[in-house]
């Protein structure tokens, strides 16, 4: 096992797939010599050249649309959108074009592309560079949505996404880019649609994904000292969703807390909660499923305010205690 950063894992996944398959290429703003706004693609242009690591003008709609057209005609593009907030500018291309081309043309075409984009707050970049956008795209038939929490999952899921024949929105967690973790050597693929139980426990299930996985694991360690045995289910891919894993854990513990950084109102947590209450797991619950998401506010600039917008360790722990006590 090698220990590498999340950013390196993302880069390794792209490089390995580009070496394996000449149809795979990368396009995005400043992905060339600059190496991307977060340095993820640094050095790739040296190995693959400017044809396959394509710096683009600042034109998110054109970049995303170009990927759609390239994907429809035999290539397998990876688009980097510098901040997930900027998918707004590419939304028609993503939602009306990439997601729908196959269905509305009766299966005549497919759109094998990955849109990679960093999301989340914590960098002091304020309201237009800090959002968690998964709810915007999860409601669109035809897209797949992935949000890895560890370097190993980032690598394995990105390789699987690149090999997938559908448009995949790959939500990188920007605060995790510099975190390190063990990644298996050699070919490492994590199939889409398989959750991972990151911590086994008996008393309470926390269903989460992305940046909140690490935070929930830390909270779980603290709660263990108090005698609360927490299971942490990392969804990894949000669509397709591993409902089996969610339901199984809910049945086991009978207490479920859903945690995500994105706004709670209208957020994916509601879908997870409904997945449980719509299933036989409902009859195993001792208390209602509880959600803990971000506040319904734009992300503020001030460090203290920003930190308080998303689920804090204290709030997660308090919510967990309230469910089992």
């Amino acid at each position: 096992m090698q220990e590498i950063t999340y950013a390196q894992a993302v880069k390794d996944a792209m490089c390995e797939e580009m070496r394996r398959d000449p149809r795979v290429f990368l396009l995005g703003e400043d992905v060339g010599p600059y190496g991307g706004a977060f340095g993820v693609t640094r050095g790739m242009i040296d190995e693959f050249g400017p044809e396959r690591v394509r710096d683009t003008p600042i034109s998110e709609a054109a970049i995303t649309g170009a990927a759609v057209g390239a994907a429809m005609t035999g290539m397998r593009p990876i688009v980097e959108i510098m901040f997930s907030d900027f998918i707004t500018i590419a939304m028609d291309q993503l939602v009306n074009q990439a997601a729908k081309a196959r269905y509305q043309f009766g299966g005549q075409t497919s759109v094998p592309m990955v849109l990679r984009t960093p999301e989340g707050c914590g960098t002091g970049a304020a309201a237009q560079h800090s959002q968690s956008v998964e709810a915007w795209v999860l409601n669109v038939a035809g897209l797949k949505v992935v949000a890895p929490a560890t370097p190993a999952d980032a690598k394995g899921l990105l390789k699987a996404s690149i090999r997938d024949d559908n448009p995949v929105v790959f939500l990188e967690q920007k605060l995790l880019y510099r975190t390190k973790g063990e990644v298996p050597e050699g070919e490492h693929i994590v199939p889409l649609g398989e959750a991972d139980v990151k911590r086994r426990g008996e008393d309470l299930t926390i269903v989460t994904y992305g940046r909140m996985v690490g935070r929930c694991l830390e909270v779980a360690d603290g709660l263990a000292v108090e005698g609360i045995d927490v299971e942490v289910v990392d969804l990894r891919s949000l669509k397709p969703l591993d409902t089996t894993a969610i339901i199984a854990s809910a049945k086991k513990t009978g207490h479920v807390l859903v945690v995500h950084e994105a706004c709670q109102f209208g957020g994916f947590g509601g879908e997870i909660a409904a997945t449980i209450t719509d299933s036989e797991a409902f009859y195993y619950l001792d208390v209602p499923v509880r959600r803990l998401g971000g506040l319904d506010v734009p992300i503020p600039y001030n460090k203290t305010l920003e930190a308080g917008v998303v689920p804090t360790p204290e709030r997660i722990a308090a919510a967990a205690r309230s469910l089992v006590q």
Binding site: A66, G69, T73, Q93, Q97, K144
Partner: protein, 318 residues
């Protein structure tokens, strides 16, 4: 340029078949046989016929929501097109797209688009793919005057120019968005001047003159295959309404009548006879052939089954 006689006949056949298709489609609406909407291209037939005759069979097109003529001129089977219009299982898109989303990938038609300007960046992507795979073809992107006011038009022309991609942008200026005249939607008269902003050549021609369209598209294609993107503007007129909901409140009958006098189909029929390409009788035969193709397509569509509800979740994902 001497246009080969077989090209001239092909263009006329496609134009008259398109006209027949549109007239049949309108009749089907009035008979209440259509669930949905459609956008007719009567008056604009020369644009698609001229461009599609000028390109090569391996070239790809991206069509517009007003794309029946583009599909027919790119050689698609009218039977499966009519079946799609009527939402049948035998439709080219299995009844999932309707006539606003006709695609025939096998014929090189990568799809009509319901979003004005939505297809322009995608065509650029197909041209990028063409260049990266070193395929000998160009990509033709049809769109309208309205789309040239969308951000995607400007982003896509710029990107195609920067990367010198083999894409022919064809702007069908039919004078109107849904109801807004071009004189109110932009402060220029000649849309082709927009090409200069992005460092690519642009040219406007009479879109009702199919020979002029063919010649301009032929020259543009020769440029595109080695020189990169080109903007070709075809000035024409939408004689029919925007869609079936159009009550014609935004333009005068006199204006429409004056354009009917410039009907591209009648003008071209006269041209063919004046230049000894066809006799009057041969023109009538082609007209009858168009009607026959469409009537057979209708019979095919009407005898086809509806898609089963069991198929409704098919093809969301590959």
């Amino acid at each position: 340029m001497l246009v080969p006689a077989d090209k001239l006949r092909t263009m006329y056949q496609n134009m008259t078949t398109t006209r027949s298709f549109e007239e049949m489609a309108m009749r089907l609406f009035s008979l209440g046989k259509v669930h949905g909407t459609a956008h007719f291209c009567i008056g604009e037939e020369a644009t698609a016929a001229g461009v599609c005759a000028a390109i090569e069979s391996q070239d790809l097109i991206y069509a517009t929501h007003r794309g029946h003529g583009q599909s027919i001129s790119k050689g698609m089977d009218v039977n499966t097109m009519m079946a799609e219009f009527l939402g049948k299982a035998t439709g080219v898109c299995k009844g999932k797209g309707g006539c606003m989303h006709i695609a025939d990938v096998g014929a090189g038609n990568l799809g009509a688009n319901g979003i004005v300007g939505g297809g322009i960046p995608i065509a650029v992507g197909a041209a990028l793919s063409t260049a990266m795979q070193k395929i000998d073809r160009i990509v033709v992107c049809f769109f309208g005057d309205g789309a040239s006011n969308q951000g995607t038009f400007h982003e896509a022309l710029n990107l195609a120019s920067v990367w010198r991609l083999p894409v022919l942008f064809v702007c069908i200026n039919n004078q109107y968005g849904m109801s807004m005249h071009v004189s109110k939607s932009m402060n220029i008269v000649d849309i082709s001047v927009r090409a200069a902003s992005y460092g690519l050549p642009g040219r406007s021609v009479d879109g009702n003159d199919v020979v002029a369209v063919y010649e301009a598209a032929r020259e543009a294609r020769a440029f595109v295959i080695t020189g990169g993107p080109f903007l070709l503007v075809l000035n024409t007129y939408r004689i029919t309404g925007h869609s079936k909901s159009d009550a014609g409140l935004y333009r005068s009958k006199d204006e429409v009548e004056s354009w009917k006098k410039k009907d591209p189909l009648r003008g071209f029929a006269a041209y063919l006879q004046e230049h000894g390409v066809c006799t009057a009788e041969e023109v009538k035969v082609m007209d009858a052939q168009g009607v026959s193709i469409v009537e057979k397509a209708l019979a095919f569509a009407e005898s086809s089954v509806e898609p089963s509800l069991d198929t409704v979740e098919d093809d969301v994902y590959a």
